[in-house]
């Protein structure tokens, strides 16, 4: 089986290797070829005898009868494996290419077939001989010399052999085999070489002229055959040199793209791009491993590529550009793409005959058509997305357009080859397909776009970080001092935001003339910069309101009014007014009621600010006697959570308050337990009345 899909990048400089070639003269009698050998080897161009089908076994030896030297193959077809001048394999670029049996009277045939050739070998005594198997073939073979099995390319232990992509093979020719047929020691010996070939049905769809031998085998002195064998390996390595380079490039790009998520976690495109590039790396590695080793069979390699990686690649690239250009409509498109990828995998499975003729040929043809339609649909979707991208993002869209067009066209390799449109080139013997050029262009465009997007994102993040820092500084400015002493009161406060900017707020505002103090404490729903902005708004509103009233209810009404109509702007809040004589009036909008000497004040619940116009807030009055201690807390204290999800809870808060901790001690206890939200604590201690 010859390799069809290999990707881009070239590795130059792998040299060619040559060997001496002896003249081959066909004999008149018995279709015998005479080879005169010095230290040389000869290509066995023919005449070969050929037939489709498989040999019956000799009941005595259990060896194929068609491998026997005495078998009469005169009624078989005669085949010449002499290549046309400069002929190369259209998919692998290997030299000395000849079309297979489907181009020589057996179109559509897959299965077993036999080649036989009879040669006279005039070897020197003690000279080791070897056969170089065809380096370009479909798909596997067993080799016999005078009825003795020399070996195989592929695993023929079952009736449906395991096959690999074409690779050179070398088989030593045992001297016993040669001598048995020799007329005398040192004289010419007649050797009948027989190849038992097997071709998988899926190979019919993968090249234009498949079937059996595509490059003539080599026979000669073992050292010279070995040199030819090495030269063929170099040719094979050079042909697919792009694949491992491509795998490494994709791997690095994929890891690079994924690592960008550490810089910008909000942008999913890096993960998608990384996943698509890593799957591309797997596909390229699959190509190289399939072409150069026998660790993975040709069918398995094709299954990985056609049933998994190619559908994933289509869907992945659609999603990359969908996210890249920020498209959201139609919202069903990602699901449709997933369905199309699945349909493509199923169509390839049924249309490529990878599992023999489990699917009738007409049905297979239909699914091959479905595969074509799905690929066209992917092409249309990608072009639509890129057109949208051009409309939305201008330059980026234009850069992506040619890469996407080439990528999509490259995916129609079979169809373009059938239309005799050249999509494969072999500069310096390296296979380069249209797909390689498409991916090369795509890689360059991607690298440029990724760097551009990352720089833009980093600039935005720097701006955002600066904004947050400035907001943090502003918040520090608007927070009261941690220790405030007023006539008759000592007020201590502690503030621990969960993020850089907090949503808790409090203000301590002494009355300018009557010795009273207004304390307003609250918690904006949410955290971060948005909550911090609302805090600034509320603090401004509190400062404005106290110019005309210190009444807690008025303050809450005013704050409620400020928040109404703003989307997602709610806050719990309490306002506490304490006169110089210790008379306290408290209004509450859903905030945790204060603790007086360790016990929570019993208050009716009330809606937070910003929920409904004209909300009725709960209120109460009480007196603070000398040494009374009033503690105002935000919910961040009781709702601290440990690693197991257990809440700090109200009971722990009450227990802690029994020891009359400072605000800092309270906050630290919750912080150590597992801070989730902003924590604010205000402790008001009534000192000697009036003084």
């Amino acid at each position: 089986m010859r390799r069809f899909l290999v990707l881009f990048f070239s590795l130059f400089g792998i040299g060619c290797f040559g060997w001496a070639q002896a003249p081959v003269a066909p004999l008149e009698a018995g279709n015998t070829t005479s080879v005169t050998l010095g230290q040389s080897a000869a290509r066995l161009y023919g005449p070969w005898k050929f037939t489709v089908g498989d040999s019956p076994l000799d009941p005595a030896t259990h060896q194929p009868l068609w491998a026997e030297p005495g078998f009469d193959d005169s009624k078989w077809e005669t085949v010449d494996l002499t290549p046309k001048e400069g002929a190369i394999d259209p998919t692998g670029g290997f030299s000395g290419y000849v079309p297979g049996w489907t181009a020589k009277g057996h179109p559509g045939y897959w299965g077993y077939a036999w080649y036989r050739i009879q040669v006279q070998v005039n070897a020197q005594p003690g000279e080791g001989l070897a056969v170089g198997g065809p380096a370009d073939l479909d798909d596997g073979y067993e080799l016999f010399a005078n009825g003795t099995r020399l070996g195989s390319f592929g695993d023929f232990s079952s009736s449906r052999p395991t096959i690999y992509f074409s690779q050179p093979m070398m088989f030593p020719l045992p001297s016993a085999v040669v001598n048995e047929s020799g007329t005398a020691a040192g004289g010419p010996a007649t050797v009948v070489l027989a190849f038992r070939f097997w071709m998988h049905p899926s190979t019919l769809l993968q090249s234009a002229e498949p079937g059996g031998i595509h490059s003539a085998p080599l026979l000669g002195e073992a050292g010279t055959v070995a040199a030819g064998y090495q030269a063929q390996w170099l040719e094979l390595i050079r042909a697919y040199a792009v694949s491992p380079v491509e795998a490494v490039v994709f791997l690095l790009l994929g890891l690079g793209a994924i690592s960008l998520t550490f810089f910008d976690r909000s942008d999913r495109v890096y993960l998608w791009m990384g996943a698509v590039l890593l799957s591309g790396a797997v596909n390229s590695a699959n190509s190289a491993i399939g072409a150069w080793t026998q660790t993975i069979s040709g069918i398995a390699s094709n299954e990985i590529s056609d049933l998994l990686m190619i559908p994933l690649s289509y869907a992945g690239w659609v999603m990359v550009w969908w996210i890249w250009f920020g498209l959201r409509r139609p919202s069903w498109l990602p699901r449709a793409v997933a369905g199309m990828a699945l349909l493509l995998a199923v169509s390839n499975f049924l249309g490529e005959d990878l599992f023999y003729t489990v699917v009738p040929h007409p049905v297979g043809v239909i699914f091959h058509g479905v595969s074509l339609v799905v690929r066209l649909a992917f092409l249309a979707i990608m072009l639509w997305i890129v057109a949208k991208g051009v409309h939305l993002k201008g330059l980026e869209g234009w850069l992506v357009l040619p890469a996407v067009v080439l990528f999509c066209i490259g995916r129609f390799a079979y169809e373009l080859a059938a239309l005799h449109i050249q999509i494969i080139w072999f500069p310096f013997g390296v296979q380069l397909t249209l797909g390689h050029f498409a991916l090369l262009l795509l890689t360059v465009v991607l690298a440029f776009l990724l760097v551009r997007r990352l720089l833009t994102s980093l600039r935005a993040q720097r701006r955002m970080a600066l904004d947050v820092k400035q907001a943090q500084e502003v918040q520090q400015v608007i927070l009261p001092q941690t220790h405030t002493e007023l006539p008759g009161f000592v007020i201590e406060s502690e503030y621990r935001p969960a993020m850089e900017v907090g949503g808790d707020f409090f203000q301590i505002i002494p009355h300018p003339t009557d010795g009273s103090v207004l304390i307003v404490a609250g918690d904006v729903a949410g955290k971060g910069l948005k909550a911090g902005m609302l805090v600034a708004l509320l603090v401004g509103a509190i400062r404005s309101t106290v110019h005309f009233s210190f009444d807690p209810k008025v303050v809450l009404d005013e704050l409620n009014h400020r928040l109404l109509g703003r989307s997602d702007a709610q806050a719990t809040c309490l306002a506490l007014h304490i006169t110089a004589g210790g008379e306290a009036t408290l209004a509450n909008a859903g905030h945790l009621p204060p603790y007086l000497n360790g016990k929570p004040l019993a208050m009716e619940g009330a809606l937070p600010l910003g929920m409904v116009p004209g909300a009725l807030f709960s209120s109460m009055s009480f007196n603070l006697a000398e040494n009374d201690r009033l503690v105002l807390l935000s919910d961040g204290l009781a709702e601290a959570r440990d690693a197991d999800g257990e809440l700090f809870g109200f009971e722990r808060v009450e227990k802690l308050l029994q020891s009359q901790p400072s605000g800092s001690q309270l906050a630290t206890a919750a912080e150590r337990f597992g801070q989730q939200d902003d924590i604010s604590v205000i402790v008001v201690t009534r000192t000697a009345a009036g003084g």
Binding site: A525, D568, Q570, T572, M611, R641
Partner: protein, 119 residues
């Protein structure tokens, strides 16, 4: 640490034979739970939307933004004349719900049976 909010709707019948929608929440309820909380509520079937139970028995945590969403839901229900009861809250969140005035819009019960009986 915050887990995604899931919501599903069960249709049951009260002892009086009225259809009742039970919205069962799971996970944490926070600012990101808007679709799960308000979205689910807004898609309740019309025939069983007059009587609604909110099941919080599998909710681990509700932060201030989550509570604001629940209040929004209850205000919408109140404006639409729907009767809503909630059940399955932990003692901690029962206290928090009470603090923010939710019982004015929805009675709180320990179990589904008690909540259903009160509808």
């Amino acid at each position: 640490m915050q887990s995604e909010t899931k919501a599903r709707v069960d249709q049951i019948t009260s002892s009086a034979g009225h259809p009742v929608s039970v919205v069962r929440f799971e996970g944490d309820i926070a600012s990101t739970s808007k679709d799960a909380v308000l979205g689910t509520f807004q898609t309740l079937p019309r025939e069983s939307a007059n009587k609604v139970l909110l099941d919080f028995s599998k909710v681990d945590y509700i932060n201030s933004s989550g509570i604001a969403l629940v209040i929004q839901l209850l205000i919408e229900a109140s404006n639409a004349g729907q009767k809503v009861c909630a059940f399955g809250l932990s003692p901690h969140f029962t206290k928090v719900f009470t603090m923010v005035g939710i019982p004015k819009y929805a009675s709180l019960f320990p179990s589904q049976g008690e909540a259903l009986a009160a509808l």
